[in-house]
């Protein structure tokens, strides 16, 4: 079993000191180690953003994709390689802005992937513009008078498109997040873990203290994760006043919803089976097909 430290690379993270990405990085390494996933047994695909720089910091057979396009790469990888666990790391701007279309369609498919969103509610790498999940009315360099739109509700979207595992984590609680990751990776189907990970440099509003005052664990309050409608109601906590008091906008973390036993996309796919490279070892016989054109 690779130890937690073995999943690191010689590159020390270039994230800002105190960045929420550190907690997510640590939790993923712990989850991989505790699940005993060796380096040739899994692959990670990243989008572009501060989260994506993590491609340099995690030892794996990884793919650092385009901004917003980690999901198509990862889905294809899974379809090509049934033998691998595939994990996708995306940002909120990356995955819920540019990549939102891919997200919704991936949800519909239920391909066996783990989708981890680094949700800091801001564009970090491009220096602090509002992201699709920035709270309404929050000011940013691209929205000096405040964001006019409602934020994207990734949990609600997941539920409305039939996701089979929907969770939310908080980067400030590594043991809890590790456990969520483990459940998501072991879940058969498309597993979403949206993680609040405060940006300590550009998001002055949704800070670690802001979250610590509001976060509570669903499992500690006896949450029934089999009720999709209740989970959807819960997801509406996304929409709240910018200046809400802690008890007015609590942040539920944990597994909102899960459903086991749902067929994955690939299970219903005729051509799914062995790794696809095995189908190109010798020319395929097409004589029967050629005959059809005579």
């Amino acid at each position: 079993m690779p130890g937690v430290k073995e999943y690191t690379t010689p590159n020390w993270p270039t994230w800002c000191p105190g960045c929420g990405n550190f907690g997510m990085w640590e939790a993923l390494k712990r989850a991989l180690s505790e699940l005993d996933l060796d380096f040739h047994e899994f692959s990670v695909v990243w989008g572009i953003g501060c989260h994506g720089n993590g491609a340099d910091f995690l030892r794996t057979h990884g793919f650092h994709a385009l901004h917003g396009r980690a999901l198509p790469v990862a889905q294809a990888l899974k379809l090509a390689r049934p033998d691998l666990k595939v994990i996708v790391e995306a940002g909120d701007g990356d995955g819920y802005g540019l990549g939102l279309g891919h997200y919704v369609h991936a949800l519909r498919r239920n391909i066996d992937l783990t989708y981890i969103a680094h949700n800091n509610q801001i564009y970090g790498l491009t220096t602090g513009q509002a992201s699709p999940t920035t709270d309404q009315l929050m000011r940013s360099p691209s929205t000096p008078k405040g964001v006019l739109e409602e934020p994207v509700n990734p949990i609600g979207l997941a539920l409305s498109e039939g996701a089979t595992f929907v969770a939310r984590g908080f980067a400030g609680d590594i043991p809890h997040l590790t456990d969520l990751y483990k459940q998501a990776i072991e879940h058969k189907g498309f597993a979403v873990v949206d993680v609040f990970q405060p940006c300590v440099t550009f998001n002055r509003h949704n800070t670690f203290p802001w979250f610590r005052e509001r976060v509570y664990k669903l499992e500690e309050e006896g949450w029934d994760a089999s009720d999709a409608v209740a989970a959807f109601d819960l997801s509406l906590s996304t929409f709240h006043d910018l200046t809400c008091e802690p008890d007015e906008c609590r942040v539920p973390v944990g597994v909102y919803y899960r459903k086991e036993g749902v067929a994955t996309y690939e299970e219903n796919l005729t051509a799914y089976g062995d790794p696809l490279w095995k189908r190109a070892t010798q020319p395929r016989d097409i004589s029967d097909l050629l005959e059809k054109f005579s």
Partner: protein, 585 residues
Amino acid sequence: MPREIPEGVTEVRIRIGGPAGFGIKAAGQSLARVFTRAGYETADLTEYPSLIKGGHNTYHLRICDRPIHSHVLDTDILVALDKDTVTKHLGELTEGAAVIFDPKDFSMDDVEGVRDDLCIIPVPMTDIIYEVEGKKIMRNTVALGAVLGHMKFPLSFLEESIEEQFSHKDPSIAEVNKRCAQAGYEHAGKNGCSFPYDMGPIERDEPRILIDGNEAIGLGALAAGIGMYCAYPMTPASSLLHFMARHGEDRGVVVKHTEDELAAMNMVVGGAFGGARSMCATSGGGFSLMTEAFGLAGVSESAVVVGLFTRPGPATGMPTWTEQSDLRFALHAAQGEFPRVVLAPGDRDDAFHLTWQAFNIADVLQTPVILLGDSYISDNRSSVPPFDTSRVTIDRGKLVAEGEVTDYLRYRVTEDGISERALPGVKGATQVVNSYEHDEYGYGAQGENADVRIAQNEKRMRKMDLARDIVPPPGYYGPDEADLSVLLWGSTKMPVREAMSWLADEGVSVNMMQVVTLWPFPAEEVAEFLGKAKHSAIIEGNYTGQLQSLVREQCLLDVERTLHRYDGRPFAPEQVYEFVKEVLG
């Protein structure tokens, strides 16, 4: 002026026209099958607007007992399913041509300009389908019967084709269709129009298949061991998606109709990352959406094949028509500089062979390869000898698909620019396949060091040297020495070859060089070809002269004359013939 058919040659041109939604293409293709099976050479051309009902659709079929290379403009038998068809195509009717129509649709008296020499054959198609209790769509079958009746060609071939076409349906359907065909046959036969040939089945030494470009590309991809095909529907590439879905899935191809072209291209890169031979195809608009991920394939060194089947642009343009205006787009798509290969099939045989070769080239070079086609080659069928599948080979280059590697570096700097490519699942092969510039391992942060950037950029670009050694050479047609030397690429090869054979019959010698690999550009070969030319010309289906500009840029040479076309129609051999005559004075 219609072309005179040489003595001893049998050649018949048939056009079926009418509004969309009447099954005109399907009917025409049955006719093509009939004559191909009876031993004739066939070439068709379908023209239709981008709509589902209404408009003006036509199917043109050329049948000959000698080898042919393309469609032509003349028509000897016109099946007019509406009045519009007669009006629009009167000008192309040859002396004594037949016009088959249903008097229920319109009266020929109402059509202006109908010549006395034409043979008008009214066939009560609607009445016939009522008599045999058929459906409206079966008017086509009546019309096909009438065409054969006029030609006095044995009906049995059509009956066989009908039986086959409806073999998976209730036997009564084939029966009713056969009665339709028979009735049409008898009606036209009784009409008393003369037909210049006594045509029956002919013996042929080697068999033929009847196939369009997308089918040929689909077969080439299957033969090459394709594992993943991803696409979003777009004319004229959609039929390749249908082909793959229909024939690929049962043969082990993961076929995905994606949410958009961005997903298609990114998925193909992901599939290649996993080791699948992966391909997508689209037209110019879809490729516009794919360009960023096309560049991703370049920098990440992903082996992918992209079909770019062009139509007139920009933007939505003319969806169902043809043009060769995306050559420069293919050469320059995506920001930054990276190696790519662009191959352009000129006919169906090229389409098959270049496709499997494209997969090999992509794997060996670990870089994207574009198959640059167009609607003309994609959408239309011709009879060709069955593809020689014994030529198909698989070369996956420096691929390590399983086992273990040590001291592994995905982007190791090598002399030929190619690094060992170990797939996920191979022990010891941790790496970052990266959209960022990167170091030899794949780390992005180090990629910003000047020396690393230079090393990786040069390593990638060195692959073009290797590419020059492995890409398909140009195609040469006609005599070594000729009055006129024509340079071209892509589907224009077909009408030009056709015109060349007519000109040769008249003692006018033309030779032609088909630039098969557009990139890397075969500058030396082109320069040599033009250097030997008495007179030279480029024929290409665009306004700006994209191949010509490449010749100027890569060879520091130019040609004397050019012929362009950008009205959505393919070059016709008649047009090429006239052009050559004019050039040679």
